[in-house]
């Protein structure tokens, strides 16, 4: 299983029936492919849609029904559309049960940096700052290392997305949460040891006795 699939499958296990969930661009989008059969999860697109369905079948797309990247989507029965003020009212107001976002860095205290690399990449924060500040649960989907360097760092060197710590960080090697503002290792990927995770991580991880293996 490749890294992206491990991450998406593991995050899909955080879904519960009736949840309202926002998926960011990249790995987070893949999570929708692994919703357990029969489980009704509502996906929000921040451009103004609740009830986002899969990519439309050939010949059924409409140019005015799109995801936050501007790509055609379908709308499930019971879908609703709304303006951007309401869309971010839902996000900021705590009505969104979970957001899944990509990350550039996550630090020991759970701070996320995911929207710019000064002097190099300045796409803008889009909705990320509101999502991390307002969603009930913030899950980061991120590869554990980038070009051989740890992305889970002692302290983010890149500009933060929010000072609110994320709820859960899922990589292809580990699942980490941040109780009391400090990173804690919860699970390792099948075939990955705790020592391997620690060696790939700059941040100090609390390692409880009962670290389990990811169920995918």
């Amino acid at each position: 299983m490749d890294a992206q699939t491990i991450i998406a499958r593991r995050i899909a296990r955080e879904l519960h029936a009736g949840m309202l969930v926002n998926l960011g661009i990249g790995i987070p989008t893949l999570v929708a492919n692994f919703v357990p059969p029969g489980m009704a999860v509502l996906f929000q697109s921040e451009n103004g849609l609740i009830g986002t369905g899969p990519i439309p079948e050939e010949g059924t797309a409409h140019r005015l029904l799109t995801d936050a990247g501007g790509r055609p989507v379908s709308a499930l029965p019971g879908a609703s559309t709304f303006d951007s003020a309401i869309s971010f009212g839902l996000i900021r107001g705590g009505h969104l049960d979970m957001t899944v976002l990509g990350g550039l860095q996550v630090d020991e205290q759970g701070h996320l940096a995911n929207w710019m690399i000064p002097g190099k990449m300045v796409p803008g924060m889009g909705g990320a700052m509101d999502l991390v500040t307002g969603a009930k649960r913030v899950v980061v989907a991120m590869q554990h290392m980038a070009k051989g360097k740890p992305k889970i760092v002692k302290r983010c060197s890149l500009p933060l997305t929010s000072v609110r710590p994320v709820t859960l960080l899922v990589t292809e090697l580990a699942v980490i949460d941040f109780p009391d503002g400090h990173a804690r290792l919860l699970e390792t990927a099948p075939g990955t040891t705790v020592a391997q995770v620690l060696a790939s991580t700059e941040a100090i991880l609390i390692v409880p006795d009962d670290v389990t293996t990811m169920v995918l």
Binding site: R63, A75, T81, G127, M129, D130, T161
Partner: protein, 215 residues
Amino acid sequence: MKIISVQDAVALIPEGASLMVGGFMGVGTPERLIDEIVRQEKRHLTVIANDTAMPGRGIGKLVTAGLLDRVVASHIGLNPETQQQMIAGKIAVDLVPQGTLIERIRAGGFGLGGILTPTGVGTIVEEGKRKISVEGKDFLIETALRADFALVQAFLADYTGNLTYALTARNFNPIIAMATDAVIVAAEHIVPVGVIAPDNVATPSPLVDYIVSNE
């Protein structure tokens, strides 16, 4: 409200004007107005919008044509030309969190001085802004935004100016229609009065100044 040609509508916009433009990655952007702005070569514009779309689409066409001096947006990542012109110092770009941007525009249209938001507290977004505590929680004071013109894409417009929007093409459109001195609308269909039921009107007619003729 007047129904005018797209040429006459764009002729109302002076060089150096500030425009709020509807759309999200080009979906819900009035392409006919954009194309005519490019044709009439209106320069030194400020655009306030969610994003700059991509080259060849919506606001992306204004970027490519070199007509923008300033952009206030939440995202420019899908348009490399915006980033290139920003780095070259040709376009000044203010990046604003999306939820903050739409609330600042709404405040401008709703007669509010601004809003208190938790978004951006403790990040570089808070630089130069006032911060205030309400019941022990910190908020940034984000001030209202207005512009000279709103360029709105509607789905239905009736002949008095009532508007509806379709699906995800709604996005910024009904909000910007309240926040500018003049509102110019392009609609997919212009319909007789009464076709849009009162409960389905998203933008009431008094907000609309011009509708671009579909002929």
